[in-house]
Amino acid sequence: MEKYLSLFTEYNIPAAFWVNIQLTFWAAIGALVLGTVLAMMRISPVRSFAAFGTGYVNIIRNTPLTIILLFGVLALYNQLGFTLSSDFDQNFFNLAVMGLAIYHAAFVCEAIRSGVNTVPVGQAEAARAIGLSFFPAAREVILPQAFRGSVVPLGNVLIALIKNSTVAAVSSVAIEASSVMKQMLEFESNLIIPIFATFAIGFVIIVIPVGVLTTWLSKKLAVAR
């Protein structure tokens, strides 16, 4: 037990989780912006935009995140000399955020699109029938309902993003949870199971409230139909 408790003084476990939370925070903002733009492109009547959106989603969604993050470090940084910060560590952090945002934007796009698809066509027809033109109809009638429909899928993307932030280990972000855990497992071989349990429970504590919150929010905001 004492040996176990000493782990917390030897290794800074909360700092490791803090890196994952930071990765998640910035990547979530990036993915939300990019995903919203992609969703707008996909549902627009302009063919070329829609084709671009569909292509992006189909390509990115079917690519392993590991390849995307590895691409950032090995291809963009090593081979092309592309950097996002002059600071060595910050550069890898930013590359990881970029990769995570690019990957999850595809899922954000699909979440928003599925939200728009929950709105019955009759709503739009009714909005037009009472004389609303495109923007008022979108703002007053359709988007509020679409947003409510996409709360749960967006929450699920956020959960996936939190968990996937550990893959930043391949982007040379060295002090995030999975890398710190790996290091601890290698050095403290007689405490393998308690160390894993500590990190696993850490993620359970972060992830489950997000799930509960989105379910609660979606019930509270549910559109009665």
């Binding site: 063919r47 995140l65 590991t66």
Partner: protein
């Protein structure tokens, strides 16, 4: 057509405007493509030799194919095991016994909340330290076990929701002809739920295949690992990673299409026209 909610059928004026924006859009996309290609060319990345080495028989027979075979082996085994795991724990979630239901819920929720990478790193070290499997095999088994635990938990949740969505009459009819609740679950409800969840299940295979690439991090000799090894010798990392990504995309795209076709077939077959959503990986806190 998803566009129908927001956009009315365009009239002549709107059609002209859409055409104009469309042309601008195509030009923008072409411009983007040109910028990327010129940018790569300026860095000397469009050298034909860098790309051509990716399509030599040496690249394929010694690197890409062995890697792909290992990836498919791990993914295939993980798929089979996660279906078994999912059925067992799905039945646990639906059990009449409170203790069994609680146990299954805790297992399923736990493995859905823990990042797969943590599981892989943990099992890799656990297996190699305890010597349960041969040292060089431990990355492979770490990947298979981790994928089984995570995706099996997602499948268990699919089984549960599949059975819950069946009409109540199915179970009642089963009990009325003298089956126990357990028999009715096994013989009547789960077979129907399995059919309804097939598209979502195939969607989960895509997740398994993608996540098998995480094995790269613990040194599992899969496609990504071999691509990198090949590229380090040839100095064409960018090209090699793009080819590896393309292989994953082609296989996954085919699987996604299969899920769509199955979903369409089933929705014409099922009495209420309902099947699980092929995008259910978004519904369960899954994907990855």
């Amino acid at each position: 057509m998803s566009a129908s909610v927001l956009f009315d059928t365009p009239g002549p004026k709107a059609k002209r405007r859409i055409l104009l924006i469309n042309i601008i859009g195509v030009l923008l996309l072409l411009a983007l493509l040109v910028v990327v290609v010129i940018g790569l060319a300026n860095k000397g990345q469009m050298e034909p030799s860098l790309w051509a080495t990716m399509f030599t028989s040496n690249a394929w027979t010694n690197f890409l194919l062995p890697g792909l075979i290992n990836t498919l082996k791990a993914a295939g085994l993980a798929i089979v095991l996660s279906i078994v795991f999912g059925l067992a724990f799905g039945m646990g979630l639906l059990s009449e016994l409170k203790a069994l239901r609680w146990f299954s819920t805790i297992i399923v929720e736990f493995f859905r909340a823990v990042p797969v990478l943590l599981l892989i790193v943990f099992f890799n070290i656990l297996l190699s330290r305890t010597g349960i499997v041969n040292g060089t095999d431990s990355p492979f088994w770490a990947v298979v076990i981790s994928l089984m635990l995570y995706n099996g938990s997602v499948v268990a949740e699919l089984v549960r929701s599949g059975v819950r969505n069946l009409p109540k009459g199915q179970r009642e009819a089963g009990i009325a002809i003298g089956l126990t609740t357990n028999q009715s679950l096994r013989l009547i409800e789960i077979p129907q739920a399995l059919v309804a969840m097939l598209p979502a299940l195939i969607g989960q295979f895509v997740v398994i295949l993608k996540d098998s690439a995480l094995g790269y991090i613990v040194g599992f000799t899969e496609l990504l690992f071999y691509s990198r090894t090949f590229a380090s010798a040839n100095g064409n990392m960018l090209q090699a990673l793009l080819v590896a990504a393309a292989i994953f995309i082609i296989i996954n795209f085919a699987l996604s299409k299969l899920a769509e076709i199955v979903s369409r077939r089933l929705s014409s077959r099922m009495p209420d026209g309902k099947t699980a959503d092929p995008d259910a990986e978004l519904e369960a806190p899954a994907l990855a």
